[in-house]
Symmetry: C2
Subunit: 274 residues, 2 copies
Amino acid sequence: MSETVGFIGLGNLGLPIASNLLDAGYSLTVYNRTAGKAAPLVEQGARLASCPADTVTPAGIVMTLLWDDESVESIVMSDGFLERLGTGGIHVGMSTISPEMAKKLAAIHAEHGSVYMEAPIFGRPEAAVARKLTVPFAGPEQVKERVRPILKAMGGEGLFDFGEEVGAATAVKLIGNFLIVSAGQSMLEALTMAEKNGVDPKPVVDMLTQTLFSAPIYQSYGKMIAEKQYSQFTQSKIPLKDVGLFQKTAQQVQSPTPISSLLHDILESAQKQA
Amino acid sequence: MSETVGFIGLGNLGLPIASNLLDAGYSLTVYNRTAGKAAPLVEQGARLASCPADTVTPAGIVMTLLWDDESVESIVMSDGFLERLGTGGIHVGMSTISPEMAKKLAAIHAEHGSVYMEAPIFGRPEAAVARKLTVPFAGPEQVKERVRPILKAMGGEGLFDFGEEVGAATAVKLIGNFLIVSAGQSMLEALTMAEKNGVDPKPVVDMLTQTLFSAPIYQSYGKMIAEKQYSQFTQSKIPLKDVGLFQKTAQQVQSPTPISSLLHDILESAQKQA
């Protein structure tokens, strides 16, 4: 609780997570490109930083929850960020980025005496509010020990340790997001077939999600599809970006990508229709 | 219990199901193309029929659990089958066939005074032994009422009524099998990517199946993939046949098939490598 934590990125997930850390007693210094978003946190006791480096306490912990590789890298490379963090400092990356970038960030931090660890987050904003996130994480043992109470304060019981090598948890995050998109698009294809055959999709979803597919993903996406709310998801830029990262990461190690490549094409078309 | 039931098709699922019906007190007359497979059932008290029509009690119930459209149709059209079943007779089709064939069988039976109802089965042989099957079913209300105790004796609590129109439950069965194949192949693609990135697939499966994908299908197929036992499944002819039926059924109603078409291609290649 004595930690002062820097928190950068106050989007749909960042806001409730930062709020839960404040509730847990952490002192937070927050930064967001659009500063206005920080207002509820400032009211809750957070300090608003004027630039990314201003969130950093020397030898402290700073967390980022941003859009993509480039946005995380630009924060790390911003004026004074690495210099201020310095020896003993920890950067906890929570964004969905490429394992390649995660390793690059680890190397950059190592050059400056600080350590990068990864803790990307599975969960919708409601799950963040409820502290029911799934968080695969990886990084050097000592660093994880220091960060674990913070992860627990934001994620609850859903912490999964993927070892010391940075990149592993990020790969796991891409795997999860690819499987989510695959499950969603497959259900869309299946339930469209049902409907066009005169079979109401709702009881189909009910049966599947009570039996073979009794998992949160099938329950929530099945409901969205049956209620014609699913295009919100395919037209968002997130699945397209994440399936693209999965595909690129697989291709870099000559791992076959038939399904992810097809899904990427499908999502790209959905974007054009949006 | 007073029903004498005909049971045709004693494969990996048929055998344990027939055995459970005998245990439940039904008198069974069984038939299988390879008669030797019936031996344990005969020992348990079943009568062995010499031909399909010989399983039929006039105005009785006869159940089929066979390989495909053609094998079910050939039983129904075999000498004396329809004539013997006659008015008040019920044929319960449990095979995974096309909705088109299910409707055709319903029409053929109607011409002969008998009724066809469908009750295709989800479940591995172990689940059949344990009476933990998932059984979507459809057919005329009165017929379902008479058959329901039999379905319960074989499937337990997993019965799902999809209305009176034959074809609906068969479509649902194809949907389920398509989603199973899609989940399996997507996990294979995902876990291969993990492994080639130096990430052990086992803890990845553990995390996913404890959280977002906490469903029986992901648990059993994830385990198979992590233990390198999955090619048994892709090299079996069942997923190829069923994804093909899904695809054909969808195409007949102009429902898009991007994922099922890709999966069909992938499974066809896997067959060639088998």
